[in-house]
């Protein structure tokens, strides 16, 4: 399970979500899935079961760590917690264009983050082109 945060205040939340979608659709389609973070907050039994019975990586946009804290509120300890802001600090030239429309630099950061996550969960990373 890869659980991105729900942030829409800054672009980092969207980068985490897009990296998660890239993992699910492109890099590790058979091994990665996600669910809505908000479902954990209402104790949705299916969402909670998915979290409790799988390895969980959280991808948070900012230091509030909403994804990690909400997953851990179910009693599950996350297997890996990633902050998008940390990835951005290593690639400061890749400044997203907008909060939800990331533009080319933002999507480059999405790819870098998705590939890092894929290696961490032992997925075969496909070379671009």
């Amino acid at each position: 399970m890869v659980m991105p945060c729900s942030g829409i205040g800054k672009a980092y939340g969207e980068i985490g979500r897009q990296a998660t979608y890239a993992l699910m659709d492109d890099l590790c389609p058979d091994r990665v899935t996600t669910t809505c973070l908000a479902k954990l907050m209402i104790g949705d039994p299916d969402a909670v079961d998915l979290i409790k019975n799988n390895e969980v990586i959280t991808v948070d946009g900012c230091a509030h760590d909403c994804a990690r804290k909400n997953v851990e509120s179910t009693g599950k300890k996350v297997d890996r917690a990633v902050r998008v802001i940390s990835a951005f600090k290593q690639h400061r030239d890749l400044k997203p264009a907008g909060v939800l429309d990331l533009g080319e630099p933002g999507y480059k950061l999405v790819k870098i983050l998705a590939q890092d996550l894929a290696q961490g969960i032992d997925c075969p990373v496909r070379k671009e082109d």
């Binding site: 979608y21 996600t34 973070l37 907050m41 909403c66």
Partner: protein
């Protein structure tokens, strides 16, 4: 002689709380529509909070619905945003459910949670206008 006192009046703010559902295309609609309201349609009168901050944050975040009249925007009928806002912060003034709204207008949901196509942008506009209408109703109260 009449004495006048100048008083600064801050514009009333309305809190918009989308579910942001990452799993569903309708959740993506809530994000884009809410950003449109915040950035384009009602920038002076709206604020938002990330729903999960009600758990991850502190007292200040939990008082959000007491500070602002709120509109929750949910992608599906689980209504995570409305339920969590009511439980952790305060009763929202209005609640919008995207699946109901699309049904009412005979519109299909986007095909993907990951990417919206041009046709979906019209759906974003529809949802954003509906939210803005509710904002206007609150501002007029």
């Amino acid at each position: 002689m009449l004495e006048l006192e100048l008083v600064e009046i801050s514009p009333k703010k309305v809190g918009i709380i989308p579910c942001n559902g990452e799993e569903l295309p309708e959740g993506t609609l809530t994000r884009f529509a809410c950003r449109k309201v915040l950035d384009k349609l009602k920038p002076s009168n709206t604020v938002t909070i990330c729903l999960p901050l009600f758990i991850a944050g502190g007292k200040e975040e939990r008082e959000f619905a007491q500070k602002f009249p709120t509109i929750t925007v949910d992608g599906c009928d689980k209504q995570c945003s409305r339920i969590n806002t009511e439980r952790l912060s305060g009763k929202p003034r209005h609640s919008i459910v995207i699946t109901d709204l699309l049904k009412e207008h005979g519109i299909n949901a986007p095909g993907s949670a990951r990417t919206l196509v041009d046709m979906d942008r019209q759906t974003v506009d529809l949802v954003a206008k509906e939210i803005a209408k509710k904002v206007d109703q609150i501002l007029a109260e």
